[in-house]
Structures are given as C-alpha cells and as structure tokens.
C-alpha cells in the first residue's frame, strides 16, 4: 500500500527536524516540502553549515536531519562523519539533500551513516517516498 500524507503524519507525531543548508531559500523549500509530504512537524531548526548543525544537535532533541552536501565551513559529508561520534546524535536518521548527482559523494555520505538522499530539484511526493521507510523503521 502506498504511503499517503496522512499515514506519514500518523507514523510519527510532532517531530523536531533540523534542516542544514547554506541557502535560506532551500531551507524554506525543504521545510514546506516536508509539511506537504505529510510530516507532522512541531519544530524546525535550521543551520547554515555542518559546524553550526553539530552545535544545534548537541543542544536539542532532534528526530530527523536533512542536510545539503555542498556547504561552506563544514560540508555535509564532514558533518555526517562528525555526527557519528556524537552521543546525542545516535539513532537520528540523516537524509542528504543535494544537487550533486555524483554517485561517489552519495555513496560516501551513505557509508558515513546517512540513511538516504534526495536530489534537487524534488517534489513533495519524492520527499515522501524517500522518508517513509525511515519513519517506519
């Protein structure tokens, strides 16, 4: 059975998500897409880069992270790498959102601990398709 917006919302109630992207526009678009995909979001935290995101993770209880790969200061790959060493980050699914179709970078992100990836540009339906298995896990 396909997952619809309602069932996604029912899977996990009132989530706190962290969106990491150096583009403020993309952070808003991801946020809107997640809501359109049916994710029941209570809190959205944002970070400009991996370094800032690590600090946010240390100070908050986060249910899911969406991160760009290509960012200044600390990119998404290094962020995922460092996240694995954080006790506070254990069990938080990380989904990479990237323009890069580069298989090697996607594979590296997955090998470092990311649980999935979404390629820009994307539709809310594509987002839903990618995150549904993570919510069911």
């Amino acid at each position: 059975m396909g997952t619809n917006a309602e069932s996604l919302g029912e899977t996990m109630k009132k989530m706190c998500v962290l969106i990491v992207d150096d583009s403020s526009v993309m952070r808003k678009i991801v946020q809107r897409s997640l809501r359109l995909a049916g994710l029941d979001i209570e809190t959205v935290l944002e970070a400009d880069n991996g370094e800032e995101a690590l600090s946010v993770v240390r100070q908050n209880s986060i249910d899911m992270i969406f991160s760009d790969i290509n960012m200044p200061k600390m990119d998404g790959l290094e962020f995922v790498r460092q996240l694995q060493g954080l006790e506070a980050a254990k069990g938080i699914p990380v989904v990479m959102i990237t323009t890069e179709g580069s298989q090697s970078r996607v594979v590296e992100a997955l090998s470092l601990g990311a649980r999935g990836y979404i390629r820009k540009p994307f539709t809310p339906d594509q987002v839903k398709e990618r995150i549904a298995p993570l919510l069911e896990a």
Partner: protein, 185 residues
C-alpha cells in the same frame, strides 16, 4: 554629466560575453565523459528550461536579441572544478530574481530581500547540477562550488586565458535571463 554615457557603454561592454560554441575547444585529452549530441548550448538551454519549469512552474522561451542587457543587475555564479572546469553564471534584473524567489517560497519577496539573492544562487546551483547530470560520465568527474552573488552592473568578469564561453538568453513572464557557461580548455 558625460560619465553617464560612458558608464552605460562600459556596463554594456562589461556584461557582453562572447557567444562561441566551438565544442572542440572543450575536449580534453583525459576526459572520461562524452558530450551528447547537440552540444553545450543545447544542454544548457534544456537544463535551464527544465529547472525553471519544474521548480517554479514558469514557461521559458527564447529572449529576443533586441532585449537590453543593461538591466541585469544581479548575477549568480557557480564554479565547476575537475575534468570540466569553469563557471556557470545567471544574470537577470533583481526584479526577475525576486519573481523567482516569490514563486519558490510562495510569498511576496522584494528585489532587495536576502531571499532573492539566495534564490538566484540556488537556481544557478540546480541548473549546474542538472547540466552535469546530462553529460554521461561527468557527474563524478566535476564538482560544483557554492554560489556567489554579485549585485550591480558595473563589474567585469575575467576567466583565465584559454577559456571559451557560450550564453543562452531566455525569458519567463516577460523577464529576461542570460545563462553563461565559461569553460576552461
């Protein structure tokens, strides 16, 4: 003041990119990718149209050659590095970038809003990524930089020597946009 005319001419000259489509100029001896039939100009036009239509739902068409270029006061640039290196840039009036930002965010965004700059940068980023994805073998051989935004008309963009550039001129909702690909040989 005589400098007004001079500045206008200078700005026009500064923003005038050579339109050359010599595909052979981009061929490197060690490349592991192959350029599809139609060449860069066709790919660039296709990538830009797809992204603008998919992300923003706007219809894109060719811009008449007579369209004045001296209104394009916002530029977003993305660097390409690796087996293919160079710069992809998008120039348009800030008002056009604000229209794009408004559509992306489904809100009223003004030309001076920071979201306008971010939106144009993001569009350049996604067009560059899509362009790369259309060239078999290039995705892993070329990386993209984060976007850089330039505001204003009075600047000159220099590439290292031995570069070739091509430009496609498009319009959406009667607003112009020039997308340029400067590639190092």
């Amino acid at each position: 003041m005589s400098s007004d005319t001079g500045q206008e001419v200078k700005a026009r000259a500064q923003l005038e990119f050579a339109v050359r489509t010599s595909e052979g100029a981009f061929a490197g001896p060690k490349r592991n990718w192959s350029l599809p039939e139609g060449g860069w100009e066709s790919l660039l036009r296709l990538a830009a149209s797809e992204i603008l239509e998919f992300m923003l739902g706007v219809q894109v068409s060719e811009l008449p050659e007579s369209a004045p270029r001296n209104t394009a006061d916002m530029t977003a640039m993305i660097g390409l590095a690796g087996e293919l290196s160079g710069v992809l840039s998008i120039r348009c009036p800030a008002a056009a970038a604000a229209t794009l930002a408004s559509k992306m965010l489904d809100a009223d965004i003004t030309p001076t809003d920071a979201y306008t700059r971010d939106a144009l940068g993001e569009i350049a980023n996604v067009i560059a990524g899509t362009l790369k994805a259309k060239v078999p073998g290039l995705e892993d051989a070329c990386l993209l930089s984060t976007p850089t935004i330039v505001i204003g008309l009075d600047y000159r963009l220099f590439s290292i020597s031995n570069s070739t550039s091509l430009c496609v001129a498009l319009q959406f909702e009667r607003q112009p946009m020039w997308i340029t690909l400067d590639l190092h040989r």
